[in-house]
């Protein structure tokens, strides 16, 4: 785990919490959407809170895809569950919704799960990414197939004056 990767996980957390909160605030302004009046969705999209919320969720999506490219799904999700704490704080102090003690306890338990996952490996899936097959890093090659690659590399470098 590098600083850059922690930054990506922080981005997933903050963008998701901020985006959801702004959407909620905007949707409370536009009122309930009914299945019989679907044009309400179009009106909701014109609300600035909803629009900015959607932009933030797009930023969330970009960081999320970034994280999923190098970490397990079961690592990325709990590692970013600190967002629930952030969400509760926003709901309480910005949206002025009631957050009961039981809900606070629930939020604490959820974020407690972070500690159990954060200490483990980020990537455990067996299938190597397609990228690894094409990667030309300087790792020492082992096995019969790779010695052929060495021959090719040696031949091409030997061909240069």
């Amino acid at each position: 785990m590098t600083f850059r990767k922690y930054l990506v996980l922080a981005g997933v957390t903050v963008f998701a919490a901020a985006g959801d909160s702004m959407l909620s605030h905007g949707m409370k302004q536009t009122g309930n959407i009914s299945l019989h009046h679907l044009q309400g969705i179009i009106l909701a999209l014109l609300n600035p809170w909803v629009a900015v919320g959607i932009l933030l969720l797009l930023a969330f999506f970009a960081s999320y895809m970034n994280a999923l490219s190098w970490a397990d799904l079961t690592y990325v999700l709990p590692a970013t569950s600190l967002g629930y704490v952030l969400l509760a704080l926003v709901a309480r102090f910005v949206l002025h919704e009631q957050v009961s003690p039981l809900r606070w306890l629930g939020i604490a338990l959820i974020s407690g799960g972070v500690g159990f996952v954060a200490g483990g490996p980020a990537l455990t899936s067996h299938e190597p990414p397609l990228l690894a097959k094409n990667a030309t890093n300087g790792a020492p090659a082992v096995g019969g197939g790779s010695s052929a690659q060495h021959d090719v590399a040696a031949a091409s470098s030997g061909g240069q004056p």
């Binding site: 009122g31 190098w70 709990p78 969400l87 709901a91 309480r92 959820i110 483990g120």
Partner: protein, 126 residues
């Protein structure tokens, strides 16, 4: 009736999210570490490789269903209930789905995390 709508909305969000998360995770594993790819071949290579992946589009479609269900659910219930409940139940569904479909090694550490989240969800609903 309002509670029924809220929880019905949450369940639809959870199902669509799990399907979307698994498809997107698989697509991004096929793409590989985007930072490495970006440094080797540039941003355009990252964008074209992601957008050229059909599994990515299936995942985005499922996520779009989840997103609009979330809009409905958020207009019926409090954000501090709907958002954590949907996300946490999605997390538990994802632990099973990731083990079955993505072959991730969901060890004891990760199951304990799932149980903590499950307990948290139960309290959020109370």
């Amino acid at each position: 009736m309002k509670n029924l709508y809220t929880w019905g909305g949450i369940l639809v969000v959870v199902f669509a999210s799990v399907v979307g998360d698994v498809l997107l995770a698989r697509a991004m594993k096929q793409v590989g570490d985007v930072h490495d790819l970006w440094q080797r071949a540039g941003l355009w290579a990252v964008v074209s490789r992601v957008l050229g992946n059909p599994i990515f589009f299936l995942g985005v479609t499922a996520m779009a269903v989840a997103f609009f269900s979330l809009l409905f659910a958020l207009s019926w219930g409090d954000v501090s209930l709907v958002a954590p409940a949907a996300a946490s139940l999605t997390f538990i569904g994802n632990a099973f789905a990731a083990k079955i479909f993505l072959h991730e090694k969901v060890d004891r550490r990760r199951w304990i995390a799932a149980l903590l989240v499950a307990a948290g969800v139960a309290l959020l609903a109370g």
